[in-house]
């Protein structure tokens, strides 16, 4: 930016801040605010300030209640000032509202301003403003209308929106642009706080988008950005409009006053680019519409000004988000190069940020700039350093992880900011655990540093997953032993040193590990470990949680004999502790140390396999564990009384039995808090951490096993995948003379080369998190085509539990069918965007159901006269007949074609069964050649394979999208894949839920997630409430429990057993609906569908 402008502005601060500037004193001598500000500026201590402000507030309070209106505005501004400094002036709130109500123009504006500064959205006084707003909206004075709209778009009570909505809508047609613009912004606010209220005026948003005034159009983009973020599919048709707008803006078609430093409406350009990138993401045809304008934007923005760089940054981000086009990518990459090489530090920062984003798609780019990155790593400015680490984090692979972690730890040592520490510690732990090849001394040392530096701030799941990892071990017993021994070896000196300096969490980890594994070190006497542990108990700063861990470790270690004195002493001290947990532990210690036999039975050595106890019990026929909420629901459904008050006791009873299964207290409490499926995982190794954790991890070996990488992945993960994939060390020559940097570079950027055009263009990535190390579920087959082996691995990446559960199911069902057939077809389903989890399971019945369909041979050929030329038509004509027999009687959705290539045609439909939703995928072989290579002669060409999957929703969303890949191998050896996605509305998963009014009442109180909304009533001849409820019942499969007068109660469940209750009341021409459910988001999604259902009538 130009220095000239900067200089002309240096006069400004004196105006603004009234610092001891000669001019300002003169200017503000008449104003009391000026006096106040000057007074405060001259003060030296906080205490004096407080005194002065309190005095000021008293004075204001006195004057404000006297009916001297001429002073009001001044007083209000002084109150604003006092509040701004942190001193509450609540007495003036009501006066602010009065001022907005009664004042003259400027006073009114200040009144509104004060209200918007003083009150928050839920403040009850805000209700008093509604009438004023109503009045001003109807004013003939445009400036008053303007003010009312401004305050409405800043804050307005949600419940009162219907009162002013018609007036605001009306303003959309106002002749003045400013009124239309502000009306759009007000509607945007309504959309933010109550999206359902403005759903009926979506077409008016479109009108605003097409408004002849660019300002109104700009305002409408806020709404569109928001809506497109939520559901890009619904607005794809607008892409050409956004492109045209951007083209016009870039081409300088806007009036001159929209320019900022000769750049046309830069912030508008940025907004449009953001919208385009959302629309073009994972969508080739939509992306193609925007290539030209993106290219133009890149070219136009070549002027040397900050704001053009800001646009460029957004443009580059967009280019790397949408479906790739090579020459654009090239230009964008060059652009990033200019950024990172810039001597201007702000640009460098932005360049690094862009690079961080981009390397996820194309890790190779980091190679080009490796020397710059290394320089940035040593940059004196911490923020640059920090951003560089962020970049390195994204390009970490098995080969460079040690160097990158080292750099991160270096930064951790100098960082003072807690938030940065927590973030970085989390990242280091994630990296350390991510690369199984590194599970050795390095791993332990790194984790030790993480625990010491991260202290007690870090995420609690870090120590948990570390311990879990250590206890579950890996493939090799010997390796496990070495790792554990190394941990023990590294902890002993720490305890001998100054354990008082170690964070509590670390001490807990140490205690647990020593309790479990110190026996691995043969030269170490248990007595010594015991005394080291006992020392921890005596430390002043040990928390009682740590003490409890220590006591448990001691219980595991004590063998009687020589150790007895230490344990005796400790247990005596703590058996009278006021802390019940400690007392419990002390008693356990006492009894078990005296009774070696009992101890051997309760704590058998080496039985630290995680859920061994559980799996044994399960095998013996015990019922699987269900979490409290699930049990609660089942109880509700079995018409028992609600046992809610007892729910609390559960974790306590769990932890009191913890000693029997040798679990750490935290692990236990964690597992009891997890969802019900957890304990079914026995036998599956390496589930660590909670959902989010697993999703971020990508094992190296598995990447290779996955035959066809699914291209449908969030771009945020692609870089990792690519970098993991490639193992070729970098060979890029660099002219940099410094050998040291060279070395660092080669160690940092190792493994990033190769993969060039593929990763650029294909955006491919191995399946994330498919199977952890032991890869149990690989290649599970089911034969739904007579001679083809189909391996189906069904995954839903965000949830480890689902994932493994599926694999397990598949394992048991189909593993035996793995066979020697020539063609292989593997199909994988995954859910998109991580918003909803569709858990798919392939049931036995599928196989049965499918075979007959297949044996129907040439049905397709027979039906269509020209099958060779028109496979698409075939799909429509005949697929119905391929529906598995047991489903054919049920109503199914229209069979929709999904996608096709030269050899396969995919179609799908869903069938609603009483207790499940079945997704039926039709895989039609449309190629002659492939068929000929299938050995068995009875399946001729153009046959159809049918797969069916039972879907359930883990986390509700308005629409559930199932994404999958069919990968198959031709006998010739070429493997191919076909990806598809299929969308199912949530309503397909809704079933009536039959309950009595009493049960309804009990459940109602126990559900925690709710939403309220007004719906339109149907006014036909019938009684409106009954009519509306019946319509909903019909459309959404709800169960109307009872209708009493003006109220009705309705219940439904989301498959399988997630209830949602609905309470409806007729109120002032609306149907006030209140939904409650134990499932987050379910009420919101359901209300959306209710609204849609009523609208479509």
């Amino acid at each position: 930016m130009s220095d000239v402008v900067e200089k002309t502005l240096t006069a400004l601060p004196s105006l603004l801040s009234l610092d001891s500037h000669p001019g300002s004193a003169k200017l503000s001598s008449t104003s009391k605010l000026g006096n106040l500000i000057r007074g405060i500026t001259e003060l030296t201590s906080k205490h004096e300030e407080e005194k002065l402000i309190q005095h000021e507030l008293l004075a204001i309070k006195e004057q404000v209640s006297s009916p001297n209106t001429t002073m009001m505005k001044e007083l209000m501004v002084r109150s604003i000032y006092c509040e701004m400094l942190g001193y509450e002036a609540s007495f003036s709130y009501i006066h602010a509202i009065k001022l907005a109500q009664q004042g003259t123009v400027l006073e009114k504006r200040v009144g509104y301003l004060a209200v918007s500064l003083f009150l928050n959205e839920s403040h009850e006084l805000l209700l008093l403003l509604v009438n004023t707003v109503l009045k001003d909206l109807q004013s003939t004075n445009l400036i008053e209308v303007c003010m009312a709209l401004t305050v409405v778009s800043q804050m307005f009570p949600k419940d009162m929106i219907p009162a002013i909505l018609p007036l605001v809508e009306e303003k959309l047609n106002h002749p003045k642009e400013i009124i239309r613009r502000k009306a759009v912004l007000a509607l945007y606010k309504f959309y933010l706080i109550a999206p359902n209220q403005v759903q009926h005026i979506h077409n008016k948003f479109r009108k605003a988008l097409c408004d002849k005034d660019p300002g109104v159009m700009t305002a409408s983009l806020h709404i569109y950005l928001q809506m497109i973020q939520e559901n890009p599919e619904a607005y794809k048709d607008l892409t050409p409009s956004f492109v045209t707008i951007l083209k016009q803006v870039v081409g300088g078609k806007l009036p001159m006053d929209f320019n900022y430093h000769t750049v046309p409406a830069p912030w508008l350009q940025i907004q449009l680019l953001r919208i385009l990138s959302l629309l073009g993401k994972n969508d080739q045809s939509t992306s193609e519409v925007m290539y030209e304008v993106l290219d133009e934007s890149l070219q136009r923005a070549e002027m040397n000004h900050n704001i053009t760089y800001a646009i460029l940054y957004e443009c580059v981000k967009c280019i790397y988000t949408i479906h790739p086009k090579s020459d654009l990518l090239e230009k964008a990459a060059k652009c990033i190069g200019n950024f990172v090489l810039s001597p201007k530090i702000n640009l460098k920062y932005l360049g690094l940020k862009a690079l961080t984003y981009v390397v996820q798609q194309d890790p190779k780019l980091a190679l080009q700039h490796q020397m710059t990155i290394i320089e940035c790593l040593d940059h004196p400015d911490l923020i640059i350093k920090r951003e560089t680490l962020e970049l390195l984090f994204r390009i970490t692979n098995g080969q460079n992880v040690t160097v990158i972690v080292e750099k991160m730890l270096e930064f951790l040592c100098i960082s003072e900011d807690d938030h940065t520490t927590i973030d970085l510690v989390g990242k280091v732990a994630e990296l350390a655990e991510k690369y199984p090849l590194k599970y050795n001394e390095w791993f332990i040392e790194t984790m030790n540093t993480v625990f010491s530096l991260g202290g007690d701030m870090m995420q609690p799941d870090i120590p948990n997953s570390f311990l879990k990892l250590l206890s579950e071990g890996f493939d090799s017993v010997e390796e496990d032993r070495k790792l554990r021994l190394f941990a023990v070896n590294s902890y002993i000196p720490l305890l001998r040193g100054e354990p008082g300096k170690l964070p509590q969490r670390f001490l807990q980890v140490i205690s647990w590990v020593l309790g479990e594994y110190s026996h691995l070190r043969e030269d170490l006497e248990p007595a010594e470990v015991l005394s080291l542990l006992a020392k921890l108990l005596d430390m002043k700063n040990s928390s009682s949680e740590t003490k409890s861990w220590v006591l448990m470790a001691m219980t595991k270690l004590c063998k009687g004999g020589a150790d007895a004195s230490v344990t005796q002493e400790v247990s005596e001290t703590y058996s009278s502790s006021l802390d019940t947990v400690l007392r419990q532990r002390a008693h356990e210690l006492q009894y078990l140390s005296q009774d070696p036999e009992l101890r051997a039975r309760v704590l058998p050595r080496g039985s630290c396999g995680n859920f061994a106890f559980v799996s044994e019990a399960l095998a013996a026929g015990a019922a699987p564990y269900k979490p409290p909420h699930q049990r609660q629901e089942e109880l509700d459904q079995s018409k028992a009384l609600s046992l809610e008050p007892y729910g609390l006791s559960l974790p306590i009873s769990m932890s009191s039995c913890s000693i029997t299964d040798r679990q750490s207290p935290t692990l236990l409490s964690m597992s009891s808090g997890l969802s019900g499926d957890t304990l079914k995982l026995d036998g599956i190794k390496r589930v660590w951490g909670r959902e989010g954790y697993l999703a971020q991890r990508e094992p190296v070996e598995e990447a290779a096993q996955v035959e066809v990488p699914s291209p449908i992945q969030s771009p945020g993960r692609q870089g990792e995948g690519d970098s993991l994939h490639s193992q070729t060390p970098t060979q890029t020559p660099t002219p940099e003379p410094e050998q040291e940097k060279q070395q660092l570079a080669s160690s940092l950027f190792v493994g990033l080369a190769s993969q060039s055009s593929v990763s650029l263009m294909g955006k491919s990535e191995p399946m994330p998190q498919r199977f952890r190390r032991k890869a149990k579920g690989q290649g599970l087959g089911s034969s739904f085509i007579a001679n083809e082996q189909i391996s189906s691995s069904l995954i839903s990446p965000p949830s480890a539990v689902d994932n493994l559960l599926c694999n397990n199911l598949l394992d048991s069902n189909n593993a035996s069918e793995l066979a020697e057939q020539t063609s292989q077809l593997s199909q994988s389903l995954t859910t998109a965007n991580g918003t909803c989890h569709a858990e798919a399971e392939l049931t036995e019945s599928d196989t049965k159901g499918c075979n007959p369909a297949l044996r129907r041979d040439n049905c397709v050929v027979a039906a269509g006269p020209g099958p060779h030329n028109d496979p698409g038509r075939l799909t429509e004509v005949c697929l119905d007949s391929y529906l598995p027999a047991e489903l054919s009687g049920l109503s199914h959705s229209e069979i929709a074609p999904l996608c096709a290539n030269q050899s396969l045609n995919l179609s799908a439909c869903h069938v609603q069964k009483e207790d499940s939703l079945i997704l039926v995928v039709f895989i039609m072989n449309s190629s002659e050649s492939a068929i000929q290579q299938i050995p068995a002669g009875e399946v001729t060409s153009y046959s159809v394979a049918v797969g069916q999957y039972s879907l359930t929703v883990k986390r509700p969303a308005v629409h559930v999208e199932v994404v999958g890949t069919v990968s198959y191998q031709l006998p010739a050896g070429t493997s191919q894949s076909l990806q598809f996605s299929y969308k199912v509305p949530l309503t397909s998963f809704i079933r009536p839920f039959v309950v009595s009014t009493e049960e309804y009442g009990t459940m109602w109180l126990s559900f925690s997630h709710d939403t309220k909304q007004n719906l339109t009533l149907i006014n036909d001849n019938q009684e409106p409430l009954t009519a509306t409820l019946n319509a909903l019942k019909k459309k959404l499969q709800l169960h109307v429990v009872e209708v009493i007068g003006m109220e009705g109660i309705v219940a439904c469940r989301l498959l399988q057993d997630l209830p949602c209750l609905m309470h409806c009341r007729v109120n002032a021409g609306w149907l006030a609906v209140w939904l409650r459910s134990p499932v987050p988001d379910l009420p919101d999604c359901l209300i959306y569908h209710c609204q849609r259902a009523l609208q479509s009538l």
């Binding site: 930016m1 900067e6 002309t8 502005l9 400004l12 601060p13 603004l16 801040s17 610092d19 200017l27 503000s28 605010l33 405060i40 500026t41 505005k73 209000m76 604003i80 509040e83 701004m84 400094l85 942190g86 123009v105 400027l106 504006r109 301003l113 918007s116 500064l117 959205e121 400036i143 003010m147 401004t150 778009s153 800043q154 400013i178 912004l185 945007y188 606010k189 300002g215 700009t218 305002a219 806020h222 006053d257 900022y260 830069p266 912030w267 508008l268 900050n306 704001i307 800001a310 940054y313 957004e314 530090i345 702000n346 640009l347 460098k348 920062y349 923020i383 920090r386 900011d417 938030h419």
Partner: protein
Amino acid sequence: MIKFVLMVNRQGQTRLSRYYHSVELSRRAALEADVVRYCLSRKKDQCSFVEYKDFKLVYRQYAALYIVVGITDSENELSIYELVHNFVEVLDKYFSRIMFNLDRVHIILDEMIQNGHIVETNKSRILAPLTTIDKMVDS
């Protein structure tokens, strides 16, 4: 998204603050003090963007006055940096004839940023409502 806009002097005293997400009154003073400390400690040749807790600060200095904007990570730092300058240019345009008023700066800011989003950047349109009010008051 923009979280807040602050104007502070070199002594660290707040001259103007506007929050676009709810922050309790009692926590504001501490947050502002923290933010100012971060920005004041930085040298001229250092980056104008700072990481602070889970958001970023974009700051710009005009003589003794600092303007600090708190933003989320998804925001474009450089565009905010220039937005600050646009804001200052608007203030310059307006206050060249009228003396400083806390309320008027707020009114101008309200025209530019709402709910944490940039809603207007056209200088004449930003000032239109305010100048109209001024005219009405004068007459």
